[in-house]
Amino acid sequence: SQKIEQNSEALNIQEGKTATLTCNYTNYSPAYLQWYRQDPGRGPVFLLLIRENEKEKRKERLKVTFDTTLKQSLFHITASQPADSATYLCALDSGGSQGNLIFGKGTKLSVKP
């Protein structure tokens, strides 16, 4: 069956460092992968989308890579700030005609001052 794993439930880092979050998948060939941010008590908010033919995508301090051979995406936040503390979710298209997304369980990032 299709499976998505985010490598850690929680990640603690020091302010100013780079946070790296991992998303692995099996039994998929997704056309694209997305990353979302979720704050407590709120719905997820879209951050970045990367397609299968793209190796890397950047948006301000965020960078996403997509390796279809390794079946892995890495999500980086450079120069992290306490305001970056949140849960980050990866999501892949399920391959169906309606483009439904399947989500990982998320990684809770805490950035300490």
Binding site: Q34, G43, P44, Q98, F103
Partner: protein
């Protein structure tokens, strides 16, 4: 929030009672989704809609039904609520031109 409103925001109900959650959007997007989010499981798709009166099941549809009689409203009904349906429910919309989802603020449902 892309014009998405979920109601109610919080609800406590008893086992065996019917419950309806409402998702309302103001931008006439074609695709609407209902997800539930539980610790240890992440977001799981319950049902989705790709147009008025066009709906289909997701990964965890047992015990739920949906209706979409007009573009702006997508209703999720628990015919007879069970304690296992205690969860946070999120509605989401997607534009036809884009793959990203916009989520509502969620409904916290407790079934006692």
């Amino acid at each position: 929030d892309a014009g998405i409103t979920q109601s109610p925001r919080h609800k406590v109900t008893e086992t065996g009672t019917p419950v309806t959650l409402r998702c309302h959007q103001t931008e006439n997007h074609r695709y609407m989704y209902w997800y539930r989010q539980d610790p240890g499981h992440g977001l799981r798709l319950i049902h989705y809609s790709y147009g008025v009166k066009d709906t289909d099941k997701g990964e965890v549809s047992d015990g739920y039904s949906v209706s979409r009689s007009k573009t702006e409203d997508f209703l999720l009904t628990l015919e007879s609520a069970t304690s296992s349906q205690t969860s946070v429910y999120f509605c989401a919309i997607r534009t036809q031109e884009d793959e990203k989802l916009f989520f509502g603020s969620g409904t916290q449902l407790s079934v006692l």
